[in-house]
Every structure is written in structure tokens, then in C-alpha cells.
């Protein structure tokens, strides 16, 4: 029988599976922040599903005591949305990296934003492909030299926050793995937010692209007076790329598709095949 823990601690979310991440990986900070955020919310592990794609960060569900779905590269968002549409009673959290969400699965982000299904996405962005050992990512800076861009990256850099804001995502925030307390608070608020919440978690890769120092210097908390309903201001902050603002850029309450769909279902009746076939008689 599953046991009920009334006042869970972050440890209660930690599975016995040892993370495969390199020592010093930013993802440890995000994992700990997630434990902490979920503990604050007292989320029942058996009513919570963590969905991921493929990449270093997508191993995440294995390290948690919640239900998990470690899917294929880029498809965490549609898996999570299908789960939430079918089972709106569950807490659904989607995790993964910049490759998953901004490259192979970027198309899904657009539609997740439009639908505003009540799931939370935590993107662990290290600006590099780690699992495949150091190729360029959409969030790598222009000119960046990697194994796949030996002469420097020719494409420009993807701006996750500005993109999320332009897509009308209903909760947009950024945190930093080196500040797990603040990140935990953002995850907590993201999960609480009714709708699609997008948390951009800066999570450096010490092995293939060491950005700790740069981000330590660039990370700047959004000032407390920021009006989280002011989208123009939020976009302005997002476009200030020499700084990495952290905190909540924007949030708004909108109808969620899962809620709306299940309101339709309120009037439903059990299916009766004999009744149904009358239309073809």
C-alpha cells in the first residue's frame, strides 16, 4: 500500500536512482529546487507525473519518486498535454533541455502556449548539447565554437523568454540552478499557476560549456516593483540579453483548455451503442 506523508520534505521526492549527471552539473540544482518546490506544495507523488524528452536533463523523472514518463526527443510537451487533457486531476510537470524544447520540439511550444493546458514546463538550458557531447544548440551564442560549429556558429541565438512572451504563454519566469531557493519558489508558483507555465532554468554544463561565471555575473533579479501583467515591460526585460533577468516576467489567468474541455464533459452520458446507431438506421 502506498503511504501517505502528511508533511513531506524535499527528500520525500528523491528516488533511489543515482543521477547520471556529471559532477557540478546545473541540473542537480534544478532537481533539488524541484524537490523543494513540490514539497512546499505538498504534491502527492502518486498524483504527480514528471514528463521528459531526451537529453541529460531529461533523465530527471528517474531521479524523482513521482510517476514519470521519459519519452522521446522533443515530444515531452505533447505527451504531457495528452496526459493532462485525459487526466486533469493529475499534476503534470514537463522537464527537459534547450534541445528538446527549442530545437527538435520547438514547434510544440507554440501550440502548448496557444492551448494553455495546465502543465508546467521547466527548461534546463545549458546552451549546448551535452548528452551528445558538445554540439551547438539553438541557445548557443552566435559565433560559438563547438564540435559542430568548428568555425563558429553562424545562426543567431534563440531567446526563450522573448519567444514565450510573444507566444502569449500565461506564466513566464526564469531561474538559475545556482540559486535553487529562488528557482524552487518559481517552480512552486509555476505549478500553482492555472495554465501553461514556462520556467526557463539556466543550468550550466561544466563539461561542455562552462557558463557558471558568466551567468553569476549576468543574472539579475527582476525588481520587486515589476508589474507581472505588463507584457511590454516583460519583453523589454527579455530583450536585454546582456543581463539574464530572473523571476516572473509575466503571468495572467486565462481559461485553460483542459478545464474548458472538461466543462463540456460535465453534461456527458454513458455511451449507448444501440442509441448511437439510430442515426444510421
Amino acid at each position: 500500500m502506498t503511504q501517505t506523508i502528511i508533511n513531506p520534505t524535499p527528500k520525500d521526492y528523491k528516488s533511489e536512482v543515482k543521477p547520471t549527471w556529471c559532477p557540478g552539473c546545473g541540473d542537480f540544482g534544478v532537481l533539488n529546487a524541484t524537490f523543494r518546490g513540490l514539497a512546499e506544495l505538498k504534491l502527492p507523488t502518486d498524483q504527480t507525473v514528471v514528463v521528459s524528452g531526451i537529453g541529460c536533463s531529461s533523465r530527471f523523472p528517474h531521479f524523482m519518486k513521482t510517476f514519470g514518463f521519459h519519452s522521446v526527443h522533443g515530444r515531452a510537451l505533447p505527451v504531457a498535454q495528452g496526459l493532462k487533457m485525459a487526466r486533469p486531476d493529475l499534476n503534470v510537470i514537463t522537464v527537459g533541455g534547450d534541445g528538446d524544447f527549442f530545437s527538435i520540439g520547438a514547434g510544440h511550444l507554440v501550440h502548448a502556449a496557444l492551448r494553455n493546458i495546465d502543465i508546467t514546463v521547466v527548461v534546463m538550458d545549458n546552451e549546448i548539447y551535452g548528452l551528445t557531447k558538445g554540439q551547438t544548440s539553438p541557445t548557443s551564442p552566435q559565433g560559438h565554437v563547438t564540435k559542430s560549429t568548428p568555425y563558429g556558429l553562424l545562426a543567431s541565438q534563440f531567446n526563450p523568454i522573448a519567444t514565450a512572451l510573444s507566444l502569449n504563454v500565461s506564466f513566464v519566469a526564469r531561474g538559475y540552478s545556482a540559486k535553487p531557493k529562488e528557482l524552487a519558489a518559481l517552480i512552486q508558483q509555476g505549478v500553482q499557476h492555472k495554465g501553461f507555465s514556462f520556467i526557463h532554468a539556466l543550468s550550466p554544463c561544466p563539461t561542455f560549456y562552462h557558463t557558471f561565471d558568466a551567468w553569476d555575473a549576468a543574472v539579475t533579479p527582476i525588481e520587486a516593483e515589476h508589474d507581472t501583467h505588463d507584457k511590454a515591460k516583460a519583453i523589454a526585460l527579455a530583450l536585454e540579453t546582456e543581463r539574464q533577468y530572473t523571476g516572473i516576467f509575466f503571468k495572467e489567468e486565462r481559461t485553460t483548455m483542459d478545464q474548458a474541455a472538461h466543462q463540456q464533459v460535465q453534461q456527458s452520458r454513458p455511451f449507448d451503442i444501440e442509441q448511437y446507431m439510430k442515426r444510421y438506421a
Partner: protein, 594 residues
């Protein structure tokens, strides 16, 4: 011929050719006849040549008919395109203001469709009603049967109004009178009164929707694609009414991914697509097989490769369905052969997906999606369903679903032993008890990585071997548990015909006709193509001298499979122009066996 006629209507899309044909089919079926339709769609959205053929008979109809007995041409192009399909001595009906036919070996009736619609009814859109009125006058369906259908169709239409109804009735009446008074009937085709029967009239896609709903499918996600979109539209309309949810996905990858998410959440879930969309889904078919998540995927085959011919039929996705995906990926492949089969086998597809926890690919084709058949109503019963093997919190497993899906008072569950639960327990059947989130049963991680019994990533050679064998063991279990296909025809046949998918009725009709000519012939039509019913197929092959394998594809995909598995050197009969077989084509192949 008494009480049987095959009528083909050729016209321009948008002038009521198809809707007129639909009305004729439905009215004939309600009157008590068996019907079987075949239609082609133009590539154009508006306009373009289209054709509707309905075979109407007082005995069960198994195929679309070799030729049209009656051809109605609503314009010259329809005549040019379809005259070759009119039987020698058949009836050609045309409007002399459109063209003058040059054909001499048929009976011709000139009916001024255009003039009657324009001048007498004074509404050109009633041209298809004029045509139906003429059919009633010439071949027997009572006008009342047509009127009933027109009335019920119009009552559901946005464009309906009293004048329109009146004009439609007038058109029917005037045309019937015209042919009765002006045309001397010299053909043998006449439908007389028959006993009413309890049948329903629907197409393959509609039967799939009905079956999926009856099978308790409560989540659907798809992306529009011809010829599968009707399934999506049907599910979009019906699911909310029965407590299910629907999501139009951004692409087919997302469609299947979200269906897998729903299945993980314990729902019976499906998607429906055609070749191009199916191609996009292949990576997720592997995930479904590896993570052992039940899912039903309908592939309404159309002529390929690539975009191919979206509105034309082909049976050319069999090899793809059998092998789609990288790695060794067990899956179940089912191919229905009729509208009735679309209903009962889609239910079977859900049952097998849930029982064996793997993807079930359901192969229809364009001709079956649009084929309207009259079907005995009694087959549409509430099916007996079995839940997926559930993991119970006391460690036992059962086929019952006990979770209430409510938050209740559980704050944090699965405190101890999380991930210790052997989600992928290596059982003798290969089937492992599943846990569903939010039901009080223990947590686990579904993963596409190779894993141990607990679902933890595991690359050890012995574990990969054990899990691979476990996954494939489910196919062996399925092969044992599934019903075997039944032989049709002579027990002492020397000629065998093995087919798959939508050709079954046509093959059976050919077998009937060959037997009537004195041939010793039998047919076998497996509905489950993975796992194959080895015993039944081998026995069948051994029992005959020669085996014909007719397929609507270029390469002979079933023949290739039977050759590889059983060493069969089949006589291949391949038709791949986008049009189904006629019974006479298969009969000819039987006659040609040496």
C-alpha cells in the same frame, strides 16, 4: 436481372452527384435492400469529376460489382470517363442537351435533366433530384423512400426551407412522370418490393468511430489528413458527450505523443491518420512498444509513396505497418475487410492493445473509409471489455479498474518502495501489471530506454535479452489467444486465395462464381497480420495446390511476407491504379491457374 442493379452516377463535384447517390443508397437500404457503394473523389475541393456507384440487391452484396448496369451521365466528361465501366447491354441515361452518345451496344434513355430542373422546377440545384426521380420511375425504388431520406437530410440542413423542400419534391415527381410517360423501358433491371430488414447504413470511418466509442476509447488526438479526417471529426463531436476528451494536434507526431500520454494516464486512447502521417509517427510506435503503453493507431491507407494520391485507395502500407520503427519492435497489425469489421475489429484492436500493452495498427484503406454498406444492426452491441492488467497496491494484479481518480485525502503517496514496483515484471505471458497515476498504486517511470523490471535504465546484455524476449513473448501470447481465420469455400479446394484488408468480399464473390463454374477453390483472409495466425495459414497453404494472393499494391507485400515466412510461391495478382478489385478480375486469376 430481378431485384439487383448496379447504378453508377458520373458528374461534377458540387452538382449533387455524391449526395444524390447517398440518398439513393440510403433510401434503397431503408426500403429493405442490401447496398454497397463505391465512389471517387476529385482532387479539387470544389468542382472536378466525381463518380458514385451503388450496388443494390435483395441478397447480401460483397463487392461493388464488375460493371455498372446503369450509367447516368450528368455531363459529357462523365460519359467519356465512365462509359467503359458500363456493362454490354446496360442502360445509359443522359441529357441530350449535354451530348449525343456514340455508344451502340447499350440501351439509351434520354432524359432532359437540365431542362426539367431549369424550366419545370425552376431551380437548377434540383438536378440531382430530377435524376433520382428518373431512377425511381425506371428501376423501381418507390418515390416515398427517396422523399423520406430527402426530408430527413433537409431537416438537418442549414439551408433548409419550405420552398427548397417543395422544389425537391416537385423535381422528383416531374422526373418520375417524365420517364414513365416518355420512355419505353427496354431493360431488365427492376427492383421490386422486398421484406424490410433491421439494418443500418454507414461507411467504414463511421463504423470505426462507433466501435471506438463502444470500446470505451475516451481520448483521441489527430491531425487532419485524407481519408482519415472523418474519424477525427467524429471523435471531436462525440467524445465530449460521453466523458472523453479530444485534441487536434499540431502534427501527427504530437497526436501520437499525446495519445501515449493519455494512455499512460489509464485512458483508452487512439489516433487516426493516413500514410504520410503514419510515417511521422514511427518513432513513437517504438516508444509505445518499448514503454509497453497500449495505443490504437488507424492508418487509412491511400495510394503512395509520398503524398501519392490522397483520394485513391491502395493496400501498400502493410510492410510499413509490420516493420515501422527502428529496432525489434513488437506490435499488432489488424486489417478489417468490411464496414462491419471496422466496428468489431476496432473494438478488438482496443482489447488487444490493452491486453498486450503494445501499439495496435489498424489498416483500412480509402475505399473502405468511404464504402457505405448496409449492415445487420444486431452486430452493433455493447461489447464485453477487459481492463488492462492493473497493479493492485497489495501487490496482486487484476483486470479491474479501482482508482477513483479523485484527489481524496492522499497527500503524498508511494512513500516507500517507489520505483521498486516491477512495472515490467518478466512474466510467463510477457504481460506485466500496470500502475496508473492517481489511483493509489505505486509510481514508476515509463521510458524508451532499455530498462530493468522496475523501469530503471539498464544496458546490461542479459537484461536487454530478457526484456526483449519478454516484449516479444506478448506476441506469442497474443497468437495463442486470438481467434483463427476461417476458410471460405471448398474443403477439398485445389486453388487457394489469400487476401487481406478490404478485398475480402470481392474475393469471396469471385470464389462463389468460380465454384459455380466447377472450380475447387477456397479463400483465407487473416484479419490479424501481426502476429500471423501461422497454423491456419500453413494448413491452408498445404491444403491446396496453388495460392493466389491478390493485393492492391505494386510489390505484393502480403505475398512477400508469406514467401518469407512459409516459403510460399504465390501467384501474385497486383492492382495498383487506385481503384479496388472487381470480382471478375479475381475470378479471371482463378480461371488462369494452370
Amino acid at each position: 436481372m430481378e431485384n439487383e442493379v448496379t447504378i453508377r452516377i458520373g458528374g461534377e463535384s458540387g452538382e449533387g452527384t455524391i449526395s444524390g447517390g447517398d440518398i439513393l443508397a440510403l433510401a434503397s437500404a431503408r426500403w429493405g435492400y442490401h447496398v454497397y457503394t463505391f465512389r471517387t473523389f476529385p482532387a479539387e475541393i470544389l468542382g472536378g469529376p466525381c463518380m458514385f456507384q451503388v450496388r443494390i440487391s435483395d441478397h447480401p452484396v460483397k463487392s461493388m460489382g464488375d460493371y455498372a448496369d446503369v450509367l447516368i451521365c450528368l455531363n459529357k466528361e462523365a460519359y467519356d470517363r465512365n462509359i467503359g465501366e458500363l456493362r454490354h447491354g446496360g442502360v445509359l441515361i443522359y441529357d441530350p442537351s449535354d451530348f449525343t452518345p456514340d455508344q451502340s451496344d447499350c440501351i439509351t434513355y434520354a432524359v432532359p435533366f437540365n431542362e426539367i430542373a431549369r424550366k419545370e422546377v425552376q431551380l437548377f440545384q434540383t438536378k440531382n433530384m430530377v435524376m433520382l426521380g428518373a431512377i425511381c420511375g425506371l428501376f423501381g425504388p418507390p418515390l416515398e423512400a427517396i422523399i423520406q431520406v430527402v426530408q430527413s437530410k433537409l431537416s438537418r440542413s442549414r439551408k433548409a426551407n419550405a420552398t427548397l423542400m417543395e422544389k425537391n419534391l416537385l423535381a422528383l415527381d416531374v422526373a418520375k412522370k417524365y420517364v414513365t410517360e416518355k420512355i419505353t423501358k427496354s431493360d431488365p433491371y427492376l427492383l421490386g418490393p422486398v421484406e424490410k430488414a433491421d439494418r443500418v447504413v454507414l461507411n467504414g470511418n463511421q463504423a470505426i468511430v462507433a466501435g471506438a466509442l463502444a470500446a470505451q476509447c475516451r481520448y483521441f488526438s489527430g491531425y487532419p489528413i485524407t481519408p482519415a479526417s472523418d474519424i477525427m471529426e467524429g471523435m471531436a463531436k462525440e467524445l465530449p458527450q460521453v466523458g472523453g476528451t479530444f485534441l487536434q494536434a499540431e502534427d501527427e507526431i504530437a497526436a501520437l505523443a499525446s495519445v501515449l500520454g493519455a494512455s499512460y494516464g489509464g485512458m483508452r486512447a487512439m489516433t487516426a491518420t493516413s500514410g504520410p502521417g503514419f510515417s511521422l509517427m514511427t518513432e513513437l510506435i517504438g516508444l509505445s512498444s518499448m514503454a509497453e503503453l497500449p495505443v490504437v493507431i488507424v492508418d487509412a491507407q491511400r495510394a503512395g509513396p509520398s503524398t501519392g494520391m490522397p483520394t485513391k485507395m491502395e493496400q501498400s502500407d502493410l510492410s510499413f505497418a509490420l516493420y515501422a520503427g527502428h529496432g525489434d519492435t513488437p506490435r499488432i497489425v489488424i486489417a478489417p475487410s468490411s464496414v462491419a469489421n471496422c466496428y468489431d475489429l476496432i473494438i478488438q484492436a482496443f482489447e488487444m492493445a490493452e491486453r498486450y500493452q503494445m501499439p495496435v495498427l489498424f489498416l483500412t484503406d480509402q475505399s473502405l473509409t468511404a464504402r457505405v454498406e448496409s449492415v445487420d444492426r444486431h452486430i452493433f452491441k455493447t461489447p464485453e471489455l477487459h481492463e488492462r492488467l492493473q497493479y493492485n497496491t497489495n501487490g496482486s494484479s487484476s483486470n479491474g479498474h479501482h482508482g477513483s481518480y479523485a484527489h481524496e485525502q492522499m497527500l503524498v503517496g508511494a512513500g516507500t518502495g517507489a520505483h521498486d514496483y516491477a512495472r515490467y515484471a518478466n512474466t510467463t505471458t510477457g504481460i506485466s501489471p500496470m500502475s496508473t497515476p492517481g489511483t493509489g498504486s505505486p509510481a514508476y517511470v515509463a521510458t524508451g530506454l532499455e530498462h530493468d523490471e522496475a523501469g530503471h535504465p539498464d544496458y546490461e546484455p542479459e537484461d536487454h535479452i530478457a526484456m526483449m524476449e519478454k516484449r516479444f513473448r506478448k506476441l506469442a501470447t497474443a497468437a495463442e489467444e486470438m481467434p483463427q481465420p476461417e476458410r471460405y469455400g471448398d474443403a477439398d479446394a485445389t486453388i487457394g486465395v489469400i487476401g487481406w484488408g478490404s478485398t475480402e468480399g470481392t474475393i469471396q464473390e469471385a470464389v462463389d462464381r468460380a465454384r459455380a463454374q466447377g472450380y475447387k477453390v477456397a479463400a483465407l483472409h487473416p484479419k490479424v497480420l501481426s502476429p500471423l495466425p501461422d497454423k491456419a495459414i500453413q494448413e491452408f497453404i498445404n491444403s491446396v495446390d496453388k495460392v493466389i494472393v491478390p493485393e492492391n499494391n505494386y510489390s505484393g507485400q502480403l505475398a512477400n511476407l508469406l514467401g518469407a515466412k512459409y516459403g510460399l510461391k504465390a501467384i501474385r495478382v497486383n492492382k495498383f491504379g487506385g481503384i479496388p478489385f472487381t470480382a471478375s478480375e479475381i475470378l479471371r486469376a482463378i480461371e488462369e491457374v494452370r
